[in-house]
């Protein structure tokens, strides 16, 4: 037996891919040509081809972001009555409308940037000795804090995608992960160090259990994982709402729905100190990305799951147990999501509330699509989403632009990414290698 990658062509490009010039699928050809990740050294012509392709991907990605931000800008203008009023006399004095809009939008997006990357005022303040270096890193710290759980849930969706499963259940798996991690965090009396590891493992285990259900149902009964995971998402949410109020979980000193606080020994320690929120979660996220990249590209299981994802029938013929792969795949995806939930509750929230997991599961779905289901792509996409979220907070408090704008922009980016033909048509991009830009599997229920 040779290395996994050499075997790939055996199950190669799938006839399962739905017909059509734009072949809407995680293009198996990509899976095959993609000599995993960026850390290897392909030959020169290969490198050139890859760069060409990558440049195309990058172009569409960048244009998608620009388009999304443009639409966001239109929304900002339309929803501001004062500026909107200037448009009633735009033919008479266009400068009013244009200046007003520009001030409004540029200020909002400047705050988005300052909240996400760096605030120049803080840098000059630090150089002048007026504030500490922590203030300079505060935006980055926030970005990384928001990104950490998204990396994990994004990886969960991406991993399942590569195996041909559409894991919409990342949200539910993350919710169960928050529950088990938090409960392990305040119930078990364990020493420092061990406690954190046990709590993280508990989170992963909870998520894995919630991923196991759709996996086994898919493998045994053929129940479509999209339907089952949607149902399990809401079941998990309701279960969280119930368990918070139970004795032993609920904080006896509070009347609202909130659990006890996770012990200090089970909290993810901060990395920078000085009130910065960034914690070990982001390190965990990097580790998980490395692990998933290895799993996908270097391990036997990764080969099997890619084979199953490319063509389950061919994989079965080749002697791969499809049912076993589906179950294992959903269990590992669930574990990743659960870990994401654990990062959320052990890193920042520290208590269970009905909204503790926020939207990290669904955001993870967007992140996976934006990252084109590649581990490091997912990592970068999660950083972008974390940055948007962190900047959005500042935009909300400084410019009064609702944080929901970030949701709109995120959704728009992914719509444009998922419809590269649309972006190409809008910008009249070169038609080359269009099919390679596709991200997702179209196969219905």
């Amino acid at each position: 037996m040779s290395t996994p990658d050499d075997r790939e062509p055996a199950v190669g490009p799938a006839d399962r891919t739905p017909a059509g010039p734009e072949g809407v699928a995680v293009d198996p050809a990509v899976a095959a040509t993609e000599q995993p990740g960026g850390e290897r050294q392909p030959s020169l012509p290969q490198n050139f081809l890859q760069n060409l392709w990558a440049a195309n991907t990058v172009t569409v990605t960048v244009l998608s972001m620009v388009l999304a931000l443009l639409i966001g800008a239109v929304l900002i203008i339309v929803s501001d009555p004062d500026v909107l009023a200037t448009y009633s006399y735009i033919t008479a004095r266009p400068s009013d409308a244009i200046n007003g809009s520009w001030t409004l939008v540029s200020e909002a997006y400047a705050n988005l940037f300052k909240g996400a990357i760096v605030d120049p005022a803080a840098v000059s303040g630090w150089l002048a000795g007026e504030n500490t270096w922590q203030v300079v890193f505060a935006p980055i710290s926030e970005t990384l804090t928001y990104a950490a759980p998204l990396v994990l849930t994004g990886l969960a969706v991406a991993l399942a995608f590569r195996g041909g499963l559409f894991n919409i259940g990342a949200q539910g798996q993350a919710v169960i992960g928050t529950i088990t991690a938090a409960v392990a965090g305040f119930v078990l009396p364990l020493p420092v160090g061990v406690h954190l590891i046990v709590a993280l493992l508990a989170g992963a285990l909870g998520g894995a259990l919630w991923g196991f259900i759709p996996g086994i149902l898919k493998a045994r009964t053929g129940a479509h994982e999209v339907i089952t995971t949607i149902m399990l998402n809401y079941t998990a949410g309701l279960f969280l709402g119930w368990i918070i109020l139970q004795g032993g979980i609920h904080d006896p000193n509070r009347s609202d729905a909130i659990s006890k606080r996770v012990d200090g020994s089970a909290q993810l320690p901060g990395l920078l100190g000085g009130g910065l929120r960034v914690n070990l979660g982001i390190v965990l996220a990097v580790a998980a990305t490395v692990a998933v990249a290895w799993l996908l590209n270097r391990s036997a299981f990764g080969f099997e799951l890619r084979a199953v994802g490319a063509n389950p029938d061919a994989a079965r013929t080749a002697g791969i147990s499809v049912t076993r792969t589906y179950v294992l795949l959903m269990v590992s995806a669930g574990a990743l999501s659960g870990l994401g939930g654990a990062t959320q509750v052990l890193g920042t929230a520290h208590t269970l509330t009905p909204q503790v997991a926020g939207n990290i599961g669904f955001d993870g779905l967007l992140v996976a699509l934006l990252g084109r289901t590649r581990p490091w792509g997912v990592f970068l996409a999660a950083l972008l989403f974390g940055a948007l979220r962190a900047g959005g907070n500042r935009m909300q408090s400084f410019s009064g632009i609702s944080l929901e704008l970030v949701t709109v922009v995120q959704a728009l980016i992914v719509i444009f990414i998922a419809a590269p033909a649309l972006v190409k048509a809008m910008f009249r991009l070169r038609a080359a290698r269009a099919a390679r830009l596709q991200t997702s599997v179209a196969k219905g229920w």
């Binding site: 059509g20 809407v24 149902l217 479509h224 399990l232 922009v409 719509i415 419809a419 219905g444």
Partner: protein
């Protein structure tokens, strides 16, 4: 077992296994019946359970001893399960299924209501009202999915509908214009869904989820920018009136539930009938089903596949949007961020649980509405059964259904597969 039916003889060469789907269901029912008769019966106090035929405690009532009722209906469930287990003709299966579920629910109710009362008219009215958006959403799903387009964006269509109804309804000070804009709100999402799915071939499940987030963000953003600061200008829509149908509304029990209610209920009931008949009996219905099951074949005989799909998706958007109007014009009277809170996904569950048929989806939606109403009722009477578990019922029921434990659930064959002519 002497249950060799005609089907078996005429059928396949493979011998049928003993554990058919019906038998498995039967076994599950027997277990449920034992649980009902044993556990509910043991827990139920031996007091009278009153099911009053009105909206409160007054008036005539159906009375039964709680403990006796719980055991009796538990035994009925066991009976239904045992009959299924023994093996009967296929045509009785769904009747027995219905009987088993009904008896189980009744057993549960006898336990819970023992020593108290349950107003039947109020329960039925509330169930129907809570089911209303689910019915409309599921019908929208039926239209889309029977023609082969997966619609996971019902939630987003609800939100846009609810938002449009509140915004335009307030500005125009008219509930009907509000309803119309709700439909248009749903249509906006439907247009995006149709164009991106059919023209740009985006995966339909991905698209649905992303459109939900888009609707969530868009309505939330505009809510915070417009509605929160100026609620009186943008967020005080008139409430939908109650239409009393003279004569019919005086029928006891049924009258007040069905014929003295808001116009959306009438709309929903009419739509269920129209779509049901339309799908089964009209040219449009046949074409829709053909396009959803085998687009290539439909294309060969000259049916415009994409045209049919576009029409159905847009029609579905109008209906789901109107369903969204329920939240602002009927239920609460103002828009709030993420106010649908997953109702679109329950509608999706109703669609699947109802096996992609209008009537099935209707009954599934009613069942889910009832579960929801029951959750409110039980928490009101201080029942030990947590409301969260009753609210889980739609999701769990769908999970069980798609896993094939109860009957067979099959989506239209071409559901979610884009059609490229060629």
């Amino acid at each position: 077992m002497s249950t060799v039916t005609v089907e078996d003889l005429a059928g396949v060469t493979v011998p049928r296994r003993f554990w058919t789907r019906e038998r498995k269901t039967g076994a599950v029912f027997v277990a449920l019946g034992v649980l009902a008769a044993g556990l509910f019966g043991a827990l139920a106090p031996a007091e009278t359970a009153r099911f009053t035929l009105s909206e409160d405690a007054s008036g005539a009532a159906l009375k039964i001893n709680g403990q006796f009722g719980a055991i009796l209906f538990g035994i009925v469930t066991i009976g239904a399960g045992a009959t299924l287990l023994a093996g009967v003709a296929r045509r009785w299966t769904s009747t027995l299924l219905g009987l088993g579920i009904l008896a189980f629910v009744l057993s549960f109710l006898c336990w819970q209501v023992a020593g108290k009362f349950m107003p039947l008219v109020d329960t039925a009215k509330g169930s129907l009202e809570l089911a209303l958006p689910l019915i409309l959403g599921a019908l929208a799903g039926v239209l889309c999915e029977r023609s082969g387009v997966v619609n996971v964006a019902i939630e987003g269509q609800f939100l846009m509908g609810a938002f449009g109804a509140a915004l335009v309804g307030t500005m125009a000070a008219s509930v009907w214009i509000g309803l119309l804009s709700a439909a248009v709100g749903g249509l906006v999402i439907a247009v995006l869904l149709a164009v991106l799915a059919m023209r740009y071939l985006v995966d339909q499940v991905v698209l649905g989820i992303v459109l939900n987030l888009l609707a969530l963000g868009l309505t939330g953003f505009l809510y915070e920018r417009l509605m929160q600061p100026h609620a009186d200008v943008y967020n005080q829509p008139p409430r939908m009136p109650t239409w009393r149908i003279p004569g019919l509304a005086d029928i006891p029990v049924v009258g007040p539930v069905l014929f003295n209610t808001n116009p959306l209920v009438y709309l929903a009931l009419i739509l269920v009938a129209v779509i049901s008949v339309g799908l089964a009996r009209t040219r449009w219905g046949l074409r829709t089903r053909a396009v959803g099951e085998h687009p290539a074949a439909a294309d060969t005989v000259g049916i415009r596949v994409k045209g049919t799909r576009y029409r159905n998706v847009l029609l579905g958007g109008l209906i789901a949007g109107a369903g969204g109007a329920f939240f602002t014009l009927v239920s609460t009277g103002s828009f709030n961020k993420n106010m649908t809170s997953g109702a679109g996904f329950i509608a999706l569950a109703a669609l699947i649980f109802g096996r992609w048929t209008p009537v099935g989806a209707f009954f599934a939606a009613l069942f889910f509405g009832f579960a929801n109403k029951l959750a409110t009722y039980l928490s009101a009477i201080g029942s030990p059964v947590p409301s969260q578990f009753l609210n889980m019922l739609p999701y769990l029921a769908t999970l069980i259904a798609v896993a094939g434990l109860v009957g067979r659930v099959r989506a239209p064959a071409a559901d979610g597969k884009p059609f490229i002519k060629g």
